[in-house]
Symmetry: C2
């Protein structure tokens, strides 16, 4: 039903790469065609317009990323490894498809994006619910969960969103930086765990 032909797959991969790198305004249909190894005309044959192609990529991105951001289910009191696993998953998902895209392109049609986001999210505020239960059970501090949600996202996303700046600021080349991010994932989880611990 949802089968994709081989050229369609190649085009989508190419589009993802170019849109993520250059943003909507900076992306060129010619570059996507080159990357996919076809002509610009063929590109338009498969996906009528730049706008439609972008919407497709963006929709798939949201579909993939939102479940990762809300991957919390209350299956026990042992919350520390859950925090670690969650943040590892978030780092991985973001590194595979930098959300630079979102930050700049989300504004293109806020109402549409909000609908997209809501539709894709099965369990809104799953973390907040889990945290509240832990808190009432006296297993974690009794604080506002919102800064924790913000912080988990921030700690995972920012290193990728502002990579060039951080490489320069920390005097690392991209290779060293990526290597450091492996250690960082655990260090970031430690920060969240400390913020939650009694």
């Amino acid at each position: 039903m949802d089968e994709l032909t081989e050229p369609e797959q190649r085009i989508l991969a190419a589009a993802r790469k170019v849109f993520e790198r250059d943003g909507y305004a900076g992306a060129r249909m010619q570059h996507i065609a080159d990357e996919a190894g076809i002509s610009k005309a063929s590109l338009h044959y498969y996906f009528r317009s730049k706008e439609k192609l972008f919407q497709r990529i963006f929709d798939e991105y949201i579909t993939r990323i939102v479940p990762v951001f809300s991957a919390w289910n209350d299956d026990g009191d042992d919350w520390q490894p859950k925090v670690r696993t969650f943040m590892k998953g978030m780092m991985k998902a973001i590194s595979e498809s930098p959300m630079l895209l979102i930050a700049r392109e989300f504004d293109r049609d806020p109402s549409k994006m909000e609908a997209l986001l809501t539709a894709r999210r099965k369990k809104p505020n799953a973390f907040a619910a889990y945290f509240e239960r832990l808190s009432k059970a006296g297993l974690v501090r009794d604080i506002d969960p919102r800064p924790l949600i913000m912080a988990m996202q921030a700690l995972c996303a920012y290193p990728y969103m502002n990579k060039a700046f951080l490489c320069a600021a920390m005097r690392m080349d991209p290779k060293q930086y990526n290597a450091y991010l492996d250690q960082y994932t655990d260090q970031a989880a430690d920060i969240i765990i400390r913020a939650m611990k009694k």
Copy 2:
């Protein structure tokens, strides 16, 4: 010596607004001219090209933001209020001129930007130096300072970088969101303080 004429100031303010909102590729010289209340030709008369105008804005941005990011001097052991003040300053600077700009535009000429960054920074790793002293004095934990540097930036910048996404995710309209960010600033500082505290 560095005096700016009144039209130049108006143009720079307009350019800042448009570049920050639309990015380099999305910005239109016509929009900048409209915003400044002059013709496109006059705009080119003052700043020969889009590229030159952008470089000017970007340079000023780095010049303003880097000192804020490295505003650490070791004037005592009372580090907790210093963390709070630092993060408040960072939040303010970022909110006044969103660094969305950097994340997307920094790649346009990495070598040049690196030089720009180095030149503007008076005290490299001032935080790391301060933290190391506190750590040796037994006043804070003995840990890697790098995740703390990353985290302070991340916690301050991310809420602005990904504003549209967060508004939707937390079901707040922009007004509520901005109001929340006032509380958030202190909550974010708490997270860092907890990560540092023994």
